[in-house]
C-alpha cells in the first residue's frame, strides 16, 4: 500500500517539476536580451474596452391564413460597448511561447431598437444592463521586438457567463479570441528573483457563441482591447 502510494506520487512530482524546467530557458533568454525575452511568470491586470456586437434583427410575427406573416413590430438588437477588468497569469514555456490564463468581467448593456409598430406606437430603444464573466486559456507566440517591447500573436478560447436582470437571468456560452499583444518592461529591480514592471496592450477580435442573445443564436464577433500593468517574476 505504502509502496503503491510512493509510486503514484512520482508522476505528480515530475509534473510539478515540469513548469520550472520549462520556464528556465525563458528566464535565461530574458537575461540575454533585455527587450527580447520575458520572465517565466507574468501577471497582468488592467482595463478592457469591448466594441458593440450586433445581434441582428427579429420580427414579432403573426401567421396569416396563407402561411405568410404579419409583423406586429420589428427589433434591431445588439450588445452595446462594454467596459471591464481583466487579469492574466502567464507562464513562459519556451523563449517564444507563453501559456496564459485570463479572467475578465465586462459590463455592457443589451439594447433593442423597436420600430415599425403595426398600430403606430412610437419607436423605442430599450436596454437591459448586463454583466459578462469570461475565463480563457490562451497561447502567445513572440513575433518580434517592436517599439522597445515584445510583440506576440495571441489566440485563446474559453467559457463565459452572461448575466442580466440584476443577475437573475444567467446564460453560459463559449468564447474565443485572436489578436496581438505588446508588452514593454519599464522598471526592473534585479534580485534573487528578478521582478519587472511593464505595460501590456492587447488588440483582439473576440468571438462569442451562445450566451445571452437578443437575436438569432449565431456566433458573433467584436473588437476587444486590453491595457494594463504587467508584473514579471
Amino acid at each position: 500500500m505504502t509502496a503503491s502510494r510512493r509510486t503514484g506520487l512520482r508522476p505528480l512530482i515530475a509534473a510539478l517539476g515540469l513548469v520550472p524546467a520549462l520556464a528556465a530557458p525563458a528566464s535565461a533568454q530574458a537575461g540575454r536580451g533585455a527587450a527580447a525575452g520575458g520572465p517565466p511568470v507574468e501577471i497582468a491586470a488592467g482595463g478592457v474596452l469591448v466594441g458593440p456586437t450586433s445581434f441582428g434583427t427579429a420580427s414579432a410575427d403573426l401567421l396569416r391564413p396563407d402561411g405568410g406573416t404579419t409583423s406586429l413590430f420589428k427589433t434591431d438588437n445588439r450588445l452595446g460597448p462594454g467596459l471591464g477588468l481583466e487579469v492574466t497569469l502567464g507562464f513562459g514555456l519556451t523563449p517564444r511561447l507563453f501559456a496564459e490564463a485570463s479572467g475578465a468581467w465586462i459590463k455592457a448593456d443589451f439594447e433593442t431598437r423597436v420600430t415599425s409598430d403595426l398600430e403606430g406606437a412610437d419607436d423605442a430603444t430599450l436596454t437591459a444592463p448586463g454583466n459578462r464573466f469570461v475565463v480563457e486559456g490562451a497561447a502567445l507566440w513572440r513575433l518580434a521586438t517592436v517599439g522597445g517591447g515584445d510583440l506576440f500573436a495571441r489566440g485563446g478560447a474559453g467559457w463565459m457567463r452572461d448575466l442580466a436582470g440584476e443577475g437573475s437571468l444567467i446564460k453560459d456560452g463559449t468564447t474565443g479570441s485572436v489578436g496581438v499583444a505588446w508588452r514593454r518592461w519599464w522598471h526592473e529591480r534585479p534580485g534573487p528573483r528578478t521582478r519587472r514592471i511593464g505595460l501590456r496592450l492587447d488588440g483582439r477580435i473576440a468571438i462569442r457563441s451562445a450566451g445571452l442573445t437578443l437575436g438569432e443564436q449565431k456566433t458573433r464577433i467584436a473588437p476587444y482591447a486590453f491595457g494594463g500593468v504587467v508584473f514579471g517574476f
Partner: protein, 332 residues
C-alpha cells in the same frame, strides 16, 4: 360541495366574428368574494364521444381527431395534463349528466359558432367536475391530413375547444379585419386560443403556439420547474392603473410571443410560462375587439390610448420572476 354553475361562456370558437389583440387568458369563477381560476384537480380527464357521425367525419375519425387534439395539449412539457377516451355514448354534449361528452350537434341558429365548451364547476373551489364540447354540424367538416377546401378542420377546432376544457379562455394574439359592419375575419394570429378560426381548409391550429403553451403552463405548471419564468408589471394612464390593457411579451431570441391582460383597477398583469430570456413588452388597447370575447359582457374597458412599450428590456430568469415594471400609456 356546491355543484352547478354551468357556464356557456366565451368559450365558443367562431368562424367569423369580432376581436383583435394578443394574449392568453385563464377562465375564472367567483368563489366567495374572490375570483379563482378554473382547473381540473384530477387526471386523466375522462371523456366520452357521441356516437354520431357527420358528412365527412366518421365516428372513428372523430375519435382520432379528438385524441390527436388532446395529445397536442398533453405534449406541453411544462404542464401536466392527460386525458382518457372512455367510449362512445348516446348522451349529448351539454346534458347535465356528470360526464364529459364531446361530439357533433346541429345548431343552425348559431350560424357563426363552430364549437363551444361548457363546464360544471365546484363553486367552492373552482375545480372543473366535467366539461362538454360540441362541434356545430351545421358547418362542413374535414379530417383530411392536409385539410380540405371549404371544410373546417376538425382537429384544429378540437384543439381550440380542448384548450377551453382545460380552463383556458381566449387569447387575443391576432389581427382581424371588418368584412361588414359587425363581422370580422382573422387576418393573422399566433394562438390556437384566438376566438376566431382560420378560414375553412386551414390546419395551422392543429399545432399549439407559445401563447397556448404558456397559458396551460400557467394553470398546470409546476412551481419547481426551472425551465420557465414570469414577468409582471402595471399599465398606467396618467398615473392611474388601467384595466383591460393587452400586454404582449416578445422574446427576440426565440421569436415567441406570449401575452396577458391587466386584470384589475391597479393595472397589474402577470405573464408566466415564459422561456428565460430578454423580452420586449408592449401594451395596447382592445380597440377593435368584442370585449365579451375576453371579459364579462358588462365589463368596461378603456380602449382610448396609444400602444406603448415597457421602458426597458425585461429579463425573465429561469424558475423566477422579473422585477416589476410600469408601462405608461398616453391617451389618444
Amino acid at each position: 360541495m356546491t355543484r352547478g354553475l354551468r357556464l356557456v361562456m366565451a368559450a365558443a370558437l367562431v368562424a367569423v366574428a369580432a376581436p383583435v389583440a394578443h394574449a392568453y387568458l385563464k377562465l375564472g369563477t367567483e368563489v366567495g368574494s374572490r375570483v379563482v381560476g378554473v382547473r381540473w384537480d384530477r387526471f386523466p380527464v375522462r371523456y366520452f364521444l357521441t356516437n354520431r357521425a357527420v358528412d365527412g367525419v366518421s365516428q372513428e375519425q372523430l375519435r382520432t381527431a379528438v385524441q390527436a387534439a388532446f395529445d397536442e395539449w398533453a405534449s406541453v412539457r411544462t404542464a401536466n395534463v392527460t386525458a382518457q377516451f372512455v367510449g362512445f355514448t348516446d348522451a349529448e354534449p351539454f346534458d347535465d349528466d356528470g360526464a364529459s361528452v364531446i361530439g357533433f350537434q346541429s345548431r343552425p341558429e348559431m350560424d357563426r359558432t363552430l364549437g363551444a365548451t361548457t363546464f360544471t364547476i365546484d363553486t367552492t373551489t373552482g375545480a372543473i367536475l366535467d366539461s362538454d364540447i360540441f362541434f356545430n354540424a351545421s358547418f362542413a367538416w374535414s379530417v383530411a391530413a392536409s385539410g380540405q377546401a371549404s371544410r373546417f378542420d376538425l382537429e384544429s377546432i378540437a384543439t381550440h375547444e380542448i384548450g377551453h376544457l382545460f380552463g383556458l379562455g381566449h387569447s387575443a394574439l391576432g389581427e382581424t379585419e371588418l368584412i361588414d359592419t359587425d363581422r370580422r375575419r382573422v387576418t393573422a394570429k399566433r394562438a390556437v386560443m384566438f376566438p376566431i378560426a382560420y378560414p375553412a381548409g386551414n390546419i395551422e391550429d392543429r399545432s399549439l403556439k407559445p401563447d397556448d403553451r404558456a397559458g396551460l403552463t400557467d394553470i398546470y405548471g409546476s412551481a419547481a420547474d426551472r425551465s420557465y419564468g414570469s414577468l409582471s408589471g402595471r399599465v398606467t394612464l396618467d398615473g392611474a392603473g388601467l384595466f383591460g390593457a393587452h400586454v404582449t411579451a416578445f422574446n427576440t431570441s426565440t421569436g415567441e410571443l406570449v401575452s396577458g391582460f391587466s386584470l384589475n383597477d391597479a393595472g397589474t398583469f402577470v405573464i408566466t410560462g415564459l422561456a428565460p430570456g430578454l423580452y420586449v413588452v408592449r401594451a395596447e388597447p382592445l380597440d377593435d375587439a368584442d370585449i365579451d370575447s375576453f371579459f364579462d359582457e358588462d365589463t368596461t374597458v378603456n380602449i382610448d390610448f396609444r400602444p406603448a412599450y415597457a421602458p426597458q428590456l425585461v429579463a425573465v430568469p429561469a424558475g423566477g420572476a422579473a422585477g416589476s415594471f410600469e408601462i405608461k400609456v398616453r391617451a389618444k
